[in-house]
């Protein structure tokens, strides 16, 4: 029998992996994948808690909603990346740097 702790550790690892991907990868699509990992870590937590401690279906419902909304968010995110690619012909995160402080004289 897998314990609750095991699930929580896996989800924490997923969260940290997602954050590390967010920080270290230069490809915008890879960063979107990192966001998916973070969302999935939360969904895993909900289902695990639902099974082991709380004994109600709230967690399952919540994780279903997370999956649906993550899909919507990925669709919009990819559409924006495509628009960016059409203009700049690259999806490198370092190119996302035109908006910055401009100090007045």
């Amino acid at each position: 029998m897998v314990s609750l702790q095991a699930y929580l550790i896996v989800s924490l690892i997923l969260l940290i992996t997602g954050l590390v991907i967010m920080i270290s990868r230069k490809n915008i699509v890879a960063i979107l994948l990192g966001i998916e990992l973070i969302l999935n870590s939360a969904a895993l937590n909900f289902v695990a808690y639902s099974k082991y401690t709380t004994n109600n279906l709230d967690g399952h419902i919540f994780s279903l909603f997370i999956i649906v909304i993550a899909a919507a968010e990925a669709a919009v995110g990819l559409a924006i990346v495509i628009r960016f690619f059409q203009i700049k012909e690259t999806i490198h995160i370092d190119e996302v740097s035109e908006l910055r402080e401009e100090i007045a004289r």
Partner: protein, 487 residues
């Protein structure tokens, strides 16, 4: 149970009207896709829908505070008043979008659809009483906002701003969900009621609960752009088309403030072990948000960016009101958001006009606006004075109420910080005002799109600023009678 849920629908009419409006706008967009005249129809539909929604919201004001749909959503006068402000803000940005050349003609109806969609999310967020509805509200708000940001299709700044917004938004939503999942594990429910009971029942300082609540706050803090999570805001404001920027500084902010106030007051309104940690945290965030926002606004070239930082400063002030929510704070917040909406609408309408003429929102293009367009210049001057908090305008009364409620609750340090920040904010508002009044304009040509209707609009938006600054008693009484539903 089923009949109960159906009966609850009668309290949910304003939201349903907004949803129906969005659907009919979508159908009109597809039906009249290649028709020039369709834009008028679309605007008329949008305005009628918003006015109907406003009407039914006013009818909802008298409803007793209660939870509906199995306590997932609440109806109380606090959230209804917040929603009224949001709908007024949306209506105001409709006209700005109609006038702006920043939104291409073929996309104007899409702006309306998105704006109404964001409004649905904001209304859900303002009355959420459950972590699931809160998350749904935040995401409805966010996902449509990403699309709105990239509405200016062929512009690289717009799509860049959208990428920044989407990436920040995605990661903060994920972190918020992580915090929510641990709250659910600890207290056994996603309803606010049991969580509040659980927090009250904690015997000692609980690290896990505090960390989960902090992670939970990340998502909301990102939406209102308070201090550690404000970095996206100036970039997104600068990159978006002007009407979208105006919309972002009104609707998502007010919805976020409503939810911060609800969470702070219903979770930590009564004295518990963990109360003072949360409250001192909010106080620290409020002070830092004000200071960082106002100091960064000092030397901005882009007026949109300056207004972004100034709105961060205003959020800091409103967070002060959140701290004193139970004791005069609620009416102060409600009043502040109403005034803030009108001031923001005027400021962004004038910015739209200047951008229409020059294609840029650089502060140098505001020079001599007073001489070339007296009404526009005068309105902008009043809006700037009111934003800076000078009497006799509404902004002064709003700021005064917030600070006096903070002093009344013994938050002296925070009040001093707020007063110092008011002085700092004077610098950049008056700098813009000075160059508008005293400098000579680069060109004498008038703004083409500045019509009679524009004059009526801008004067109509300025009147509440002056009027609420002089005769604020009645509306303040109405706001003091607002009730928050407590689980």
């Amino acid at each position: 149970m089923t009949t109960n849920l159906l009966a609850n629908l009668s309290f949910y009419i304003p939201e349903m009207i907004v949803i129906v409006t969005m659907m009919s706008l979508l159908f009109m967009e597809t039906a009249y896709a290649n028709n020039e005249r369709r834009r008028t129809f679309v605007y008329v539909t949008g305005v009628i829908g918003m006015l109907l929604c406003l009407f039914s919201l006013f009818k909802n004001l008298g409803v007793e505070a209660q939870g509906i749909f199995a306590n997932a959503v609440v109806v109380d006068s606090f959230s209804t008043m917040m929603k009224i402000t949001m709908v007024i803000g949306t209506l105001g940005t409709f006209y700005i979008s109609h006038k702006s050349i920043d939104i291409y003609d073929e996309l104007k109806s899409e702006y309306l659809i998105m704006a109404v969609g964001v409004l649905i999310g904001g209304m859900l967020l303002a009355s959420s009483n459950n972590m699931l509805t809160l998350y749904l509200g935040v995401e409805t708000l966010s996902i449509l906002s990403y699309v709105m940001t990239s509405l200016k299709r062929r512009d690289n700044l717009s799509s860049e701003a959208a990428i920044k917004y989407a990436l920040y938004g995605g990661v903060t939503a994920g972190i918020m969900l992580f915090g929510m999942s641990h709250l659910y594990g600890m207290f056994g429910s996603i309803q606010f009621g049991p969580i509040i009971e659980g927090i009250k029942g904690l015997e000692s300082f609980n690290v896990a609960a505090v960390i989960s609540l902090l992670l939970f706050f990340v998502g909301i803090g990102y939406k209102i752009a308070c201090f550690p999570f404000h970095m996206w805001s100036p970039d997104v404001y600068q990159g978006s088309p002007v009407p979208v920027t105006a919309f972002f500084s009104i609707v998502p902010k007010i919805a976020g403030i409503a939810v911060v106030a609800r969470v702070t007051y219903s979770f930590f309104g009564t004295e518990t072990v963990n109360t003072h940690i949360w409250n001192s945290l909010i106080a620290l965030i409020a002070a830092l948000t004000m200071t960082v926002g106002n100091l960064s606004a000092l030397n901005q070239k882009s007026v949109k960016r300056m207004l972004a930082f100034s709105s961060i400063g205003h959020v800091g002030l409103i967070l002060m009101g959140v701290l004193t929510f139970g004791n005069n704070g609620m009416s102060a917040i409600l009043f502040y958001t109403l005034i803030y909406t009108f001031m923001t609408l005027v400021a962004f309408f004038v910015t739209t006009m200047v951008v229409n003429r020059t294609g840029s929102d650089d502060a140098v293009y505001f020079r001599g606006l007073m001489k070339t367009h007296p009404i526009l210049g005068m309105s902008f001057l009043i809006a700037l004075f009111s934003l800076a908090g000078l009497p006799p305008f509404g902004g002064f009364v709003a700021k005064f109420n917030i600070i006096s409620s903070a002093v009344g609750n013994g938050l002296y340090t925070l009040s001093i910080v707020a007063a110092i920040n008011s002085v700092i904010s004077l610098v950049y508002y008056l700098k813009l005002a000075r160059s508008m009044v005293f400098d000579t304009a680069d060109s004498e040509e008038t703004i083409e799109s500045y019509s009679l209707a524009s004059r009526v609009y801008v004067i109509g938006m300025v009147i509440p600023i002056i009027f609420l600054g002089l005769f604020w008693n009645n509306i303040y009484h109405l706001y003091s009678s607002a009730k928050l539903y407590l689980n």
